[in-house]
């Protein structure tokens, strides 16, 4: 298929899917079943892409191990763990019909993967502190106002704030639940408009990101 035809095919599929989705959202029509089917395809394609990702990962790390490339030992470890998870998962599925019914599979997931993920999450707290320090330097009037608002919200959230003065909770609540809401909603609305405009441009074949550097 020539590149031009390929591009036209992408435009056509994009247009048809968009119209189906819009009709399904706004109208009571028989196309709802079609739209539901397309959404199911999207989930299937996403999962196939995960499989492709896994295949690419295996090819890339196998090559690194066979060529003894940089940090090849880690690639070997990855391949070993990949094989163990895959085999134990399949073994559990074949024997009981449920992939998680395997002791090794469960142990590795519950006692290696989950704790490692949970360990990483709390470091966010430290980074939020250092980001707050960076943001809360009163370099100009805007930053100073943000610093004041931030202090009230911090004192509202910290138990010591209310112990010092009950008014910190009232002022902090106002900043958190009233003062910032219009600003955030403005961003939400203009962001949504930008998103629709992006979709419209993509539909007309103008957005190159949508066509991976192609398009008009």
């Amino acid at each position: 298929m020539s590149n031009v035809l390929k591009q036209e095919a992408v435009y056509a599929v994009t247009g048809i899917v968009t119209i189906l989705m819009l009709v399904e959202y706004f109208f009571f029509a028989d196309t709802q079943v079609w739209a539901e089917t397309i959404r199911t395809w999207a989930v299937i394609i996403y999962n196939i892409s995960l499989g492709l990702g896994a295949a690419r990962l295996l090819i890339s790390h196998s090559a690194r191990v066979s060529k003894k490339g940089r940090d090849w030992q880690f690639s070997g470890l990855l391949l070993g763990l990949f094989a163990i998870m895959l085999l134990t998962g399949f073994a559990g599925y074949i024997m009981t019909g449920v992939q998680t019914n395997n002791g090794i599979y469960n142990w590795m997931f519950n006692y290696i993967y989950t704790p490692l993920g949970a360990t990483l999450y709390p470091i966010t707290g430290f980074y939020i502190f250092s980001a707050a320090y960076r943001a809360f330097r009163a370099r100009n009037i805007d930053a100073a106002l943000m610093l004041i608002a931030g202090c009230f919200v911090m004192l509202k959230n910290a138990p010591v704030g209310e112990a010092i003065w009950i008014g910190f909770a009232t002022i902090g609540n106002w900043f958190q639940f009233t003062g910032q809401v219009p600003g955030m909603r403005t961003f939400a609305i203009v962001g949504a408009l930008g998103l629709i405009a992006y979709g419209f441009r993509a539909l007309l074949g103008k957005e190159r990101g949508f066509y991976a550097g192609g398009g008009e």
Partner: protein, 260 residues
Amino acid sequence: MAIIVEGRLMTFILMIIFFVLMYYFMSINKEQQYTIRAMPALQAIPEAVGRAAEMGRPVLWTPGISGALNNSSQGPQILAAISILEYLTEECVKAGVHLQAIVPLPDALPLIEETMRTAYLREGKPEEFNPDQITFISEQSPYLSATLGYMQRYEPASNIFVGGFYYESVVLGEAGNHIGAMQIGGTNNTHQMPFLVATCDYMLLAEELFAAGAAISQNRDMLGSIKGEDFMKVILVAITGVGFILGALNITIIADLLGM
């Protein structure tokens, strides 16, 4: 029998008005040229690449984990980020700078690879593109630790964080600051904007992310759609203002109309 789903009539009418406005400015009066205000974050991209060239270090691009393409509200962010990636890749090819993309989204991976390959081709150096420039890491915690590891090992001169982010925004942004990288951020996720604003030198906020492709290309039709978007904003501000005044007078006609 009702044809339109209850509560969606006005949304449909506003959407049609929006489409008509955009189409009008894109397709009518072709002689008229449009301009868009300069976006500091986009203007800073050549500077970020130049900095990397001078320091002999790579540029890191990562789109965050929230923008899976099958997610209708998050997915377009990664597509908009890919428009920026195309421009960034071209600048990197021109300057001979290594660009590393770390991607946690399997469905966007082929688009990203094709975009970078096309950019190398367009700059006349297709042989320099190496698929290893794109690292795929699935799941949030592994993606985050791999990106942090890359930053510590290779100390990129510039980090470009554009796309859909969750909590990784603050971690990546601060880690980038610790290694002294110049940083450009961009997202439409309102709950992550403050973190990127605090940690990045330049920022694309909300609709700026979606308008980036138009601003980079300076394509008349794309800029026309943004002009239509601005008119739509005026309409929405007017509706909000009138609704506010009437609401204060206990007249609920605008609220009732919007609820149709």
